[in-house]
C-alpha cells in the first residue's frame, strides 16, 4: 500500500482550527450579523413574549369595559394607549390580541408547510404524469385570488376560528406546493442525487437523506414570508365577521369594531392596524434575512 508523502502533504492545506459547524450553524451566524433581520427578530420576540405572558404584562382586563371611560385618547392617565368603544384598555387588548392574531397567522402556514411540502416533494421527485396531475390540480386552486378563496371557503364552512384556520390552510397549500415542487425538480437533477441513485439506494432513502435536507430550507423561507399574508387575511376574515367573534381581542376584529370611532379617536382606531403592520413587516424582514443568510455559499 503506497500512501506517498505527496498525498499526505495535501492535508497541509489550511483548514479552520475549530470544529466546523453544520450548515444551519453557519446560517444562524450569518443571520446574527444582519442588523435589519435582528431588529425584526427582536420585535417578533417581544410581541410573542408579550402575548404568551399577557396576564403578567398587560395592565388591565381585556374584557372589562366602562362605558363612561370609552374612547379615551392615547396618553390618557388611566389608559396609556386609550380605550376602545366599550371602554376597555387598548394596551391590554392589543397585548392579548397578539395571541389570537399570531395563532391565526402562524398555524395555517405551519399546517400548509407540512402538507404542501409533502405533496410538492413527492410530485417533484416522481416527475412524469403524477407530477402533472398533482400540479394541475394545485393550479386550479392557485388561480383564485387568495382573499377571495379565503372568504369563499370561510363562508362555506361557517364563521369561527377553527374554520378560519382550515380555510387559510387550504389557501396556502398551493403556493407552498408549487415552490416545493420546483425546488425538488431542480435538486433531483443534481449530480449528487444521481450518485446516490448509482449507489443503489431506493427512492424514499434518497428523498430522506439527500433531497429533504436541501429542499426544506428554501421552502421554509418561503413559508415564513407567507405568515404576514396569513395574519392580514385572518384579520380580514375577522373584520368581515368570518373569523373570531366579539368580545375576543383580535386585531382584525378590533379594527372592525373601532370603525365607528374613526372620526372620534382616529389614532386609537388605527392602533390595531399598526400592530398588524408592524408584525407583518417584521416577519417579512426576518424571512428576507433568512433567505440571504441561506443563499451565500462559503
Amino acid at each position: 500500500m503506497a500512501v506517498l508523502s505527496d498525498i499526505r502533504i495535501d492535508a497541509v492545506a489550511p483548514l479552520p482550527a475549530r470544529a466546523s459547524r453544520g450548515y444551519w450553524g453557519s446560517v444562524l451566524r450569518r443571520l446574527m450579523r444582519d442588523p435589519v433581520a435582528m431588529v425584526a427578530a427582536g420585535v417578533i420576540l417581544a410581541i410573542v413574549l408579550a402575548a404568551v405572558f399577557a396576564p403578567f404584562v398587560a395592565p388591565g382586563d381585556p374584557y372589562k369595559g366602562a362605558m363612561l371611560r370609552r374612547l379615551r385618547p392615547i396618553g390618557d392617565a388611566l389608559y396609556w394607549l386609550g380605550s376602545d368603544e366599550l371602554g376597555r384598555d387598548m394596551l391590554t387588548r392589543l397585548i392579548y390580541g397578539g395571541r389570537l392574531s399570531l395563532f391565526m397567522g402562524v398555524l395555517p402556514v405551519a399546517c400548509a408547510f407540512v402538507i404542501g411540502s409533502t405533496l410538492g416533494v413527492f410530485a417533484g421527485y416522481v416527475g412524469g404524469w403524477v407530477n402533472m396531475v398533482v400540479m394541475r390540480v394545485i393550479d386550479v386552486f392557485y388561480a383564485f385570488p387568495s382573499v377571495l378563496l379565503a372568504i369563499a371557503l370561510s363562508g362555506a364552512l361557517g364563521a369561527g376560528i377553527t374554520n378560519a384556520v382550515v380555510s387559510l390552510t387550504i389557501v396556502f397549500i398551493p403556493p407552498i406546493t408549487r415552490v416545493a415542487e420546483s425546488v425538488t425538480t431542480q435538486i433531483r437533477t443534481r449530480d449528487y442525487v444521481e450518485a446516490a441513485q448509482v449507489s443503489g439506494a431506493g427512492a424514499f432513502t434518497i428523498i430522506r437523506v439527500h433531497v429533504l435536507g436541501n429542499v426544506l430550507g428554501p421552502i421554509f423561507v418561503y413559508a415564513t414570508s407567507l405568515i404576514s399574508v396569513s395574519m392580514i387575511l385572518a384579520s380580514g376574515l375577522s373584520f368581515l365577521g368570518l373569523g373570531s367573534k366579539p368580545p375576543e381581542p383580535e386585531w382584525g376584529l378590533m379594527l372592525n369594531t373601532l370603525r365607528t370611532a374613526i372620526y372620534v379617536q382616529p389614532a386609537v382606531a388605527a392602533l390595531p392596524g399598526a400592530m398588524i403592520f408592524i408584525t407583518s413587516i417584521s416577519f417579512n424582514l426576518l424571512s428576507d434575512g433568512l433567505r440571504s443568510a441561506m443563499e451565500v455559499r462559503s
Partner: protein, 330 residues
C-alpha cells in the same frame, strides 16, 4: 525604445469581507506596443482580477491600489465619460464565455454596429459595413448571412470569433483576453489561437492573454508572467521561461504537466498541497508551504525580483547570489 503601452506598478486589489481577500498583492507589469504577454496561473492566482482592473471592471467592494497607466493615461483617475470612451476604443476585452458576454436579444451584427456608432460617431450603415469586414477578417463563413444571427444560433467557436470581431470593432490598441479558449474544444481552440496570433501581427495589437494552460501560453506569447497567490513570481521571454524557468512553482508546473514526456507506468511529479486561501496569507513567500526547496528565510519576507537572465526575473531567494557578488553588480 518606444514607451510601454501598459504600465502597471504596485497594483493591489482587496475585496472587502467578511473576510477580506487580497486578490492581487503588488503586481508590476509592462507591455510594449505589439507585444503579447501571457499571464499564466491557476485558480486564485489573481490573473483575471488583474486583467479586469486594467479596464476598471471590478465591483465596488474591490479596493484598488497602485498605478495603472494605459496609453500614457492614468486609468484610475478617469471620469465616467472618459472611461466609457476608453473601454472599447483603447482597450477591448475578450471573455471566456462568449455566450455570456454577447447580448442574447440582439443579432451579433447589430451589436458590432452599435459599438462602432457609439465610439466613432459613424452612421449605422458604416457600422454594419465594418461588422461585415470584421466577420470576414475573423474567418466566419457566410459572413453576410451570419451578421443577422443571434448568439444562440452560433456554435461555440463561431461565437468566440464574433466576440473577437466585437472587441476589434473600434480599433483598440490593447486587447485583453481572459481565457478565451478554455471553454472550447481542442480543434477549435487551436484555430482561435492562430487567428488571434494572425490578427495581432496584422494590426500591431498589444495583447495580455490570461490562461492556466502552459501550452496555450507557449503558442501565443512573446513574454510570460507567472502568477501565484496574487503576485507575479516569474517574468521573462517565452523561450526563457519555458526552457530555463527559475522559480520553483514554474518548474513544478512544467514538470507535472510534462507535455510530450508523459511516460506511462511512471508517476507524475506533482506539486503537493493546494493553492492557498487568499484571506489567510502568511507573511513571506506564498509558495513556501508547497515548495520542495523551502528554507526558513522564505517564510520571513517577500523575496525581491532577482534577475535570472536578460529580461527574465523571478521572485525566489534561492536565486540570490552571494551578498558580496550582488553588491559588486550594483
Amino acid at each position: 525604445m518606444s514607451e510601454a503601452i501598459v504600465d502597471v506598478k504596485g497594483l493591489t486589489v482587496e475585496f472587502s469581507g467578511p473576510p477580506p481577500v487580497r486578490a492581487v498583492g503588488g503586481v508590476d507589469l509592462t507591455l510594449a506596443p505589439g507585444e503579447v504577454l501571457a499571464l499564466l496561473g491557476e485558480s486564485g492566482s489573481g490573473k483575471s482580477v488583474t486583467l479586469r482592473a486594467l479596464m476598471r471592471l471590478l465591483p465596488k467592494r474591490a479596493a484598488i491600489g497602485g498605478t495603472i497607466r494605459v496609453d500614457a493615461r492614468d486609468v484610475r483617475q478617469m471620469g465616467a465619460a472618459e472611461l466609457s470612451a476608453y473601454r472599447g476604443s483603447t482597450v477591448a476585452m475578450v471573455f471566456q464565455e462568449p455566450g455570456l458576454a454577447l447580448d442574447p436579444v440582439y443579432s451579433v451584427g447589430d451589436q458590432i454596429a452599435e459599438a462602432v456608432v457609439r465610439h466613432e460617431g459613424a452612421s449605422w450603415a458604416q457600422g454594419r459595413a465594418r461588422a461585415l469586414a470584421l466577420f470576414e477578417r475573423v474567418r466566419i463563413p457566410s459572413a453576410a448571412r451570419r451578421l443577422d444571427n443571434y448568439p444562440h444560433e452560433m456554435s461555440g467557436g463561431m461565437r468566440q470569433r464574433a466576440m473577437i470581431a466585437l472587441a476589434l470593432s473600434c480599433r483598440p490598441k490593447v486587447l485583453l483576453a481572459d481565457e478565451p479558449t478554455t471553454a472550447l474544444d481542442a480543434t477549435v481552440q487551436i484555430q482561435i489561437l492562430l487567428l488571434l496570433r494572425e490578427l495581432q501581427r496584422e494590426l500591431g495589437l498589444a495583447v495580455i492573454f490570461v490562461t492556466h494552460d502552459i501550452g496555450v501560453a507557449t503558442e501565443i506569447a512573446d513574454r510570460i508572467a507567472v502568477m501565484y497567490a496574487g503576485r507575479i513570481v516569474e517574468t521573462g521571454a517565452c523561450r526563457a521561461v519555458i526552457r530555463a524557468c527559475a522559480h520553483p512553482y514554474t518548474q513544478g508546473l512544467l514538470a507535472s504537466r510534462a507535455g510530450q514526456a508523459f511516460e506511462r507506468g511512471g508517476r507524475l511529479q506533482a506539486i503537493p498541497g493546494a493553492p492557498p486561501d487568499l484571506s489567510r496569507l502568511m507573511p513571506g513567500c506564498a509558495f513556501a508551504p508547497r515548495c520542495a526547496k523551502v528554507r526558513d528565510a522564505c517564510r520571513s519576507g517577500l523575496p525581491d525580483e532577482i534577475p535570472v537572465g536578460p529580461g527574465h526575473v523571478a521572485r525566489c531567494i534561492l536565486l540570490e547570489k552571494a551578498p558580496l557578488a550582488r553588491l559588486s553588480s550594483v
